[in-house]
Structures are given as structure tokens and as C-alpha cells.
């Protein structure tokens, strides 16, 4: 290494010198590598082995109170468990808690825990861990991203080691279903001693998998928790996972992920290139899985702080101008996505295609032109707008079709595509400005409960967009109504309001992180409701 010699002489202890030394060390092959042996086909599924799951991105954190990205909570879901669970139909069933009780006035919820549950570090899991989790999630000193979802908690009381009681300032209807979501993952109180390392290098839970290591941006290594007991999760295996190890790798490029699956280097990928789905269907070694009932919803929302979209007619014109079914046919293969008519998507409590259908905007270009003419637009004066969308799968193709449909009624939409983080910031920015070219955007959100509508639209709103006192009152009712039938009515009222006022124009579902492909040797892989990949039943053939 001639360079190194030079450097030693000239700039000892320079960064490059250090780096080159490290380079030599790493080149000497102290690299760890997980190898998987793929058994010959035709053998029966066996226990043990490693499954490598490749995704395009990485988790932000393994601390369930620090992030809400899908890439993160799909990992929480492996390491931690929840008090309650969703079964295959999306109904709520007992899990870590063997029973729960809601007081008549809806301000108290009590859980009785199963006995004998242990954390990954061997400490028992009891009511103290539940209290620790909840207190940490709502602690204003610990800026938790899910604080609002826990509701107006007044106190969390440990009644006895197996019983914990949540007391609310006012009835909170969305709480019980939240207890079944990975965002309400139960973390063990031994994590307190880890300080800043919690969720970064270590994470103690009671879930199917325990954290071995996390190389940020590269891979998360999980080993099976031998003590795992299945209570309410919708899987057949009642005990520990069959696999020994689950490795979650990040491969950003979709074509590379698919190549890795084809060579057998990885056994499961998410988001294969959508243009290559036929190649996957036609390959006997590969299998395609399309998740349903993911809770995802793609929709239009408008910047109402300035003309023209502060006028309902402009919003309705856009809604009548587009033909969603035609756009879906152009942008997506058959059977990948569905038209969604409700502001909350299929599989979520309160979703009712028929009810929402009454208030949907059908494709009606003439009506769109008429509305525009009423506002003074016409052939000589087209409406100039910006349509913003995030990058990902075939979203851009979708908005290009919308663009041409809008042009036919005299709306010139300029498309701006950006990453989802930028889009979120930009939409908020636009809503806070009273001047400038008018904008609207195609946004997507996923949630397991109609409470998403509260989070999106109750003032000040997720994006400071459309707000009104009537809408706020309707949304508050969806939160405080505990009775299921009455709550369904409250949700209907909100949906009707959002559709009638053309505030939230539903387009399609799922459309994000929902297409998976496996090697056929992977048996028992399942995507649970709300896009939760589960590996408890997985065996490798």
C-alpha cells in the first residue's frame, strides 16, 4: 500500500490513514455473513433455518414511541406483543390480556393479563410493564409520536400484578382497538436501564422474535424467542417460531430485490417492480402475495386557504372530472388495487361502500365543465393548478392519467412529484399560505380505526387544511361514543360531511408496501389484517 506509506510520513493520524487501515482490516475478511442453504426441492418443510426478508428501506427506530413508519412498526410487530389482537376478520380478541372490561360510562378500561409471560431478558411481564409502557407513551417529556392515539388518559393504575386499569378524562372509543395495534406494543420496564440505547441497539419485549443486532440501513437480525406463547395472534403455531432466525435486510433498488429473490439469496421481498409481476407469476420458484385490508387509503385533499379550492365548486369539479376506474386500469395490473369510496378503507370499522357510494362523485365531465363555467372558467380561461404526489410504485402513472382527464374539462394541472416527507411538509406549507398558485394533492394514510379521520381533519388538522366547527363536533362524537352501533352512525356522519363538502375525495386502496413475493420454499407466510407480515407459522421447505 504505497499510499499508506506516504500518509504515515506526511499526515500521520489523518482520517484517511485511519480509514485505509480499517479498509485493510476489513479486506482481511473479518466479515460476517449469514448463509442460507436451500434444501433440494421436494423435501418436506423442516424446522429451523433462516429467512431473509428484503425491504426497500429501514426502520427509523425500534422504539414504538419514536416513529410511525410502516417500515418501523412491521418490526415492532415481531419484537413486541400487544394487550389485544386483531383476528383474521379484523375483530378484536384477547392477547397478552386474557380479558378486558370497559366501564359503563366509557372512562375506565381494565385489563387482566395472562400469567407466566416473560420478557426476552427473562424478567416477568406484568401490570408494571403495561403501566411503564403507557406512562412513557404519554409522557410530555418524551415526545411520543403516538401520544394522541392513546387518548385522554388521566392515570394508569396497577391494581395487582396481573391487573391494570386505564382511567380517561372522557370516554375514548378508539382505545380498545388501539390496544391491538403495533403502535401500542408493550415494552418491558427493563428497557428503562438502556437509556438512549433503547430502540437503537437493544429492545426488550415479549414478542415472537428477540433483537440480536441492528446495523442501521443494512440489516436487523432477530432470533426466535423460545418462550413465546401464542394467545390471540391469528396464527396456528401455539409456541415459538419454527424458524431460528429472521433477518430483515434493506435493498433499496426494486430490481436488485427481485434478482436476490430469483437467485435465492433472499426468501421474501416487499414491493417487487410492478412491471415484472408477470415474471414472478410465471416463475414456479416464486409466489406473489397481495395484502388486502391494509387500512390504506389514497385520496385527494385540497389547499383551501386560497382560491379556487376554497370554493366547493372547484373541488367538486375536480372530483367529477376524474375517472378513477379508468386510471386504475391504466396504472395497475388486475387485482392489485381496488376503488375505494369511503374516506376510511376496507377492513376498517365503519367502512361501508354502499353508504359512501351515495355521496361519491361519479365521472361526469359535463357537470365538471358546468361547475367551472359557474366560477368563470372556460375555454379562454382554464384553471391553473398544481397536483402534488409522493413517489412510489405506480402513483405517478395514476396522476398522469388524472392530469389528462382534468385537461379535458379545462383544468391545467402541473404535476409535482416528491418523496413523502417533502410532500407532508409541503402540503402543510401550502395550507398556511393565502397566496400563490392553487394546489391539491394525492395523499395516503393508513390506520386501523376510523379515528384516522379525527387525526386528519379535527382542527388544527394534520396538515392545517380544511377545518370547520361542525366537522370538529362530528369528529368528537366518533371519539366519545363507545357503543358500536352509535359509533358507526357517528362515523357515517363524518364521512358524509367530508364527501358532501368535497374535502376528502377517496380514490383507491391499498397502494403502498402491499405487494410481497416469496420463494415457494417458504411455507406458512401470512400477511395479517392491516398489512402485518407474520412469521410464526413459517417453515422452509
Amino acid at each position: 500500500m504505497f499510499w499508506q506509506f506516504k500518509l504515515r510520513k506526511k499526515t500521520a493520524r489523518s482520517l484517511l490513514g485511519a480509514a485505509l487501515t480499517a479498509l485493510l482490516v476489513s479486506a482481511c475478511g473479518n466479515n460476517q455473513q449469514t448463509t442460507t442453504t436451500s434444501p433440494s426441492p421436494g423435501t418436506t418443510a423442516t424446522e429451523g433455518g433462516t429467512l431473509i426478508w428484503a425491504r426497500y428501506g429501514d426502520a427509523d427506530s425500534l422504539d414504538p414511541h419514536r416513529t410511525t413508519t410502516t417500515l418501523s412498526w412491521q418490526i415492532f410487530d415481531q419484537i413486541y406483543d400487544t394487550l389485544l389482537a386483531f383476528d383474521d376478520n379484523g375483530e378484536i380478541v384477547p392477547n397478552l390480556a386474557r380479558e378486558w372490561q370497559v366501564s359503563d360510562d366509557g372512562t375506565e378500561v381494565t385489563f387482566v393479563l395472562n400469567e407466566g409471560i416473560t420478557c426476552h431478558d427473562g424478567t416477568p411481564f406484568d401490570a408494571n410493564d403495561v403501566k411503564y409502557t403507557a406512562d412513557r407513551a404519554i409522557d410530555s417529556q418524551n415526545p411520543s409520536v403516538t401520544r394522541g392515539a392513546w387518548g385522554p388518559i388521566e392515570t394508569v393504575d396497577v391494581v395487582d400484578p396481573q391487573t391494570v386499569r386505564f382511567r380517561f378524562q372522557s370516554p375514548f372509543a378508539a382505545f380498545v382497538s388501539f390496544m391491538a395495534d403495533p403502535f401500542a406494543s408493550m415494552i418491558c420496564d427493563s428497557n428503562q436501564e438502556l437509556g438512549n440505547q433503547f430502540g437503537v441497539s437493544q429492545a426488550v419485549g415479549t414478542g415472537t422474535w428477540q433483537l440480536v443486532s441492528w446495523t442501521r440501513g443494512d440489516e436487523i437480525v432477530l432470533d426466535k424467542n423460545p418462550d413465546y406463547v401464542r394467545y390471540g395472534r391469528p396464527v396456528q403455531n401455539e409456541g415459538a417460531a419454527y424458524l431460528d432466525r429472521l433477518v430483515v435486510r434493506q435493498i433499496p433498488e426494486a430490481q436488485t430485490r427481485l434478482a436476490g429473490l430469483q437467485t435465492g439469496e433472499v426468501q421474501l421481498i416487499v414491493n417487487p417492480p410492478l412491471d415484472d409481476l408477470d415474471a414472478i407469476r410465471g416463475d414456479s420458484n416464486l409466489e406473489l402475495h397481495v395484502a388486502e385490508n391494509t387500512g390504506q387509503n389514497f385520496f385527494f385533499e385540497f389547499t383551501v386557504s386560497r382560491p379556487p379550492f376554497n370554493d366547493i365548486r372547484a373541488r367538486q369539479a375536480v372530483a367529477h372530472a376524474i375517472d378513477v376506474d379508468a386510471a386504475l386500469r391504466v396504472a395497475f395490473d388486475e387485482g392489485l388495487v381496488e376503488r375505494e369510496r369511503c374516506p376510511i378503507s376496507r377492513g376498517v370499522f365503519g367502512n361501508d361502500q354502499e353508504f359512501c357510494g351515495q355521496y361519491s362523485y361519479e365521472h361526469n365531465p359535463d357537470r365538471a365543465r358546468q361547475l367551472l363555467a359557474e366560477m368563470g372558467y372556460g375555454a379562454n380561461r382554464p384553471m391553473e393548478v398544481i397536483l402534488m404526489t409522493s413517489t412510489g410504485d405506480n402513483r405517478e402513472r395514476m396522476v398522469q392519467v388524472f392530469q389528462s382527464q382534468l385537461a379535458q374539462v379545462g383544468i391545467n394541472a402541473k404535476i409535482e412529484t416528491m418523496d413523502i416527507g417533502t410532500l407532508n411538509a409541503r402540503v402543510k406549507q401550502e395550507n398556511e399560505r393565502n397566496t400563490g398558485i392553487s394546489t391539491f394533492d394525492m395523499m395516503d394514510w393508513a390506520w386501523f380505526d376510523p379515528d384516522i379521520l379525527y387525526q386528519l381533519w379535527h382542527s388544527p388538522g394534520a396538515y392545517s387544511g380544511y377545518q370547520s366547527p361542525e366537522l370538529d363536533a362530528l369528529l368528537e362524537r366518533t371519539r366519545t361514543t363507545v357503543d358500536a352501533t352509535q359509533r358507526r352512525e357517528a362515523v357515517n356522519d363524518v364521512m358524509e360531511y367530508l364527501l358532501m363538502n368535497a374535502v376528502h375525495i377517496p380514490l383507491y386502496t391499498p397502494g403502498s408496501l402491499w405487494v410481497y413475493a416469496t420463494r415457494t420454499q417458504v411455507q406458512g407466510f401470512k400477511i395479517g389484517p392491516f398489512n402485518r407480515p407474520v412469521f410464526n407459522d413459517v417453515r422452509l421447505q
Binding site: L16, G217, T422, A462
Partner: protein, 307 residues
């Protein structure tokens, strides 16, 4: 020589300093700060809380103040922690830097070997089919985007032939990314070598050497090649910079765990400390390497004197 070296060193430090200012300005121009992006799809946080988090991170201060605070810490060797995971930025980068350097240096070797050989033959066989074939290949190589070449190599050597793994960060996996990066840049090196060799081959001393009755191989190696190499070595520093830049794209294609990939993720998350740390390390490496290569150049070519 020493004076020249000190001058270059100061110039390099100035470059790094300007780079840090530029990147600070640029990342603040992009809409959305790290806190906004982190909490964008969480309605749980009130605007007051968001402001509080911003204050804790010092994001509420004017950009120049943030910059001065940052540089003050950097001069003490503290590059801060990532916004999302609270991990020390310097550690994250230093763990990955060897991977990026390994990729860049290997690619550079491939670039030089392939580029110089092709350029040399093209010049020597000037006007023949060999020349035109090599130069057509070079034009192709220059026009093909890195990521496409990478995907092609994966499809041929991994999926069809099964010779190399598709992705990952270890020596088995070095071949394809290094080839991708190396071949892409070999094209321009071959063109430079060719023109520089043509220049040398037409010089009077070549005729003299041949007239003296020296064997052709000796004429080529001792006279033509050595003189022709001067321009090529001069290009090494620039080539290395290209390698480091190209590594960012190639690391992404091959899921190679280097600093470039970390940088891309950090940009999406607006993780300011990580982006700034990346640029600082990147610029430092590039500056050091180009100074070293310039000194090397001076050592090869005795005609060069520095003032």
C-alpha cells in the same frame, strides 16, 4: 515542495469549509425539517410540542447561528448524533467509510487497468478496427447510466450465471459493484490515454529511439508509456472524486453498506447532522487524496517544480 504542500493543505481546508457552508444552506432550502418529517403523519404532537423539539435541537435559531454552533462542535471532534436514533454520527460514518473506500479504490484500479490498456492499444493500432471498436465501446460506456449497468451485470452474472451474489457488503460481493463503477469510468480514461499516447507517439524522441535500434517493446514501455502516463496520473485525483460520487448510486443498487447509502437515507429523513457529517467526511477524503496524488505527480514528473 514543503511550501507548496502547506499551500495545498490550506487550500484544501478552505474547500472543506466552503463545502460545509454550501451544504448547510442547501439542506435548509429543501422543504421540511427533520422534526416536521418525523412527526408529519402523527397527529399526536401538538404544534407547541413540535416547537419544543425544534428548540431542543436548536432548529429554531437562524441558520448562521446553527452553523456556527455546529462548526464549534465539529472543531472539538463532535459531529453530533442522528436525529432519529440518537446515534453518534461520527461512529456511523467511520464504520461505513472503509466499505466506501474499498469500493472506490477497487473501482479505481479497474478503471485504470481497463482504461489505460484500452487507450494504449487504441492509440498504437490507430485507425484500425481495434481502435474503432475500443472507442465505440468507450462512447457506450460513457453514455450508459451507472445504475443501469449495475442492473445489467446483476441480471447476467447473478441471476443467469449465478457467479456472484446480488447484494450485501463483503468481499464476495465486491466484484459487481466495483465492475459497475470501474467500467463506467474506464471509458473516459481510455479516451484520455489514447489522445495522450497519440501525442507521445508522434514526438521526435520516439523516432530517435526507434532509429537507435531499440526493440519495439522497449520503445513503447520506456519512452511512450512513461510519458503518456503523465497526463493520466494527473487525472487520478479527479477520477477518485468520481468514484466517491458514483459510489453513492452504486451502493444503492447493490445494497452495499457504505456512507453514500447512509447519506441518501439521511437526506430523505432530513437528518441534518448526518448529512453534514457525510459531506464533511466526503470532502475531507477527496481533498486529502487529491493532495497526495498531486505530490505523487510531482514525484513522477521531474519537470514539474512547485512554488
Amino acid at each position: 515542495m514543503t511550501r507548496y504542500f502547506i499551500k495545498r493543505l490550506l487550500g484544501g481546508l478552505f474547500t472543506i469549509w466552503i463545502t460545509t457552508i454550501a451544504v448547510t444552506l442547501l439542506i435548509h432550502l429543501v422543504p421540511g425539517d427533520p422534526v416536521q418529517i418525523m412527526y408529519a403523519q402523527s397527529q399526536s404532537t401538538t404544534p407547541e410540542q413540535i416547537e419544543q423539539i425544534r428548540r431542543n435541537l436548536g432548529l429554531d435559531r437562524p441558520i448562521y447561528e446553527q452553523y456556527i454552533m455546529y462548526m464549534g462542535r465539529v472543531l472539538q471532534g463532535d459531529l453530533g448524533t442522528t436525529i432519529r436514533g440518537n446515534q453518534p454520527v461520527l461512529d456511523l460514518l467511520l464504520v461505513r467509510l472503509p466499505n466506501t473506500l474499498l469500493l472506490a479504490v477497487t473501482s479505481l484500479i479497474i478503471t485504470m487497468v481497463v482504461g489505460v490498456t484500452a487507450g494504449f492499444f487504441a492509440a498504437y493500432k490507430r485507425g484500425t478496427w481495434i481502435d474503432s471498436t475500443l472507442m465505440t465501446g468507450a462512447i457506450l460506456g460513457i453514455s450508459v447510466p451507472n445504475f443501469w449497468l449495475g442492473l445489467m451485470l446483476i441480471s447476467i452474472f447473478s441471476v443467469r450465471l449465478g457467479w456472484f451474489p446480488v447484494s450485501g457488503t463483503n468481499l464476495n460481493n465486491l466484484v459487481l459493484p466495483a465492475l459497475t463503477l470501474g467500467l463506467a469510468n474506464a471509458a473516459s480514461v481510455s479516451r484520455l490515454t489514447r489522445s495522450s499516447m497519440l501525442d507521445v507517439l508522434s514526438q521526435d524522441y520516439m523516432r530517435t529511439a526507434r532509429a537507435k535500434g531499440l526493440a519495439e517493446t522497449l520503445v513503447l514501455s520506456r519512452h511512450a508509456f512513461r510519458n503518456g502516463m503523465i497526463n493520466v496520473v494527473n487525472m487520478l485525483g479527479l477520477q477518485f472524486t468520481y468514484m466517491m460520487g458514483g459510489a453513492i448510486v452504486v451502493e444503492n443498487v447493490f445494497a452495499w453498506n457504505g456512507i453514500g447509502r447512509l447519506a441518501i437515507q439521511s437526506i430523505f429523513q432530513r437528518d441534518y447532522p448526518t448529512i453534514q457529517g457525510f459531506i464533511l467526511i466526503f470532502a475531507t477524503v477527496v481533498v486529502i487524496v487529491s493532495i497526495v496524488l498531486d505530490l505523487l505527480y510531482a514525484w513522477i514528473d521531474p519537470r514539474i517544480t512547485y512554488h
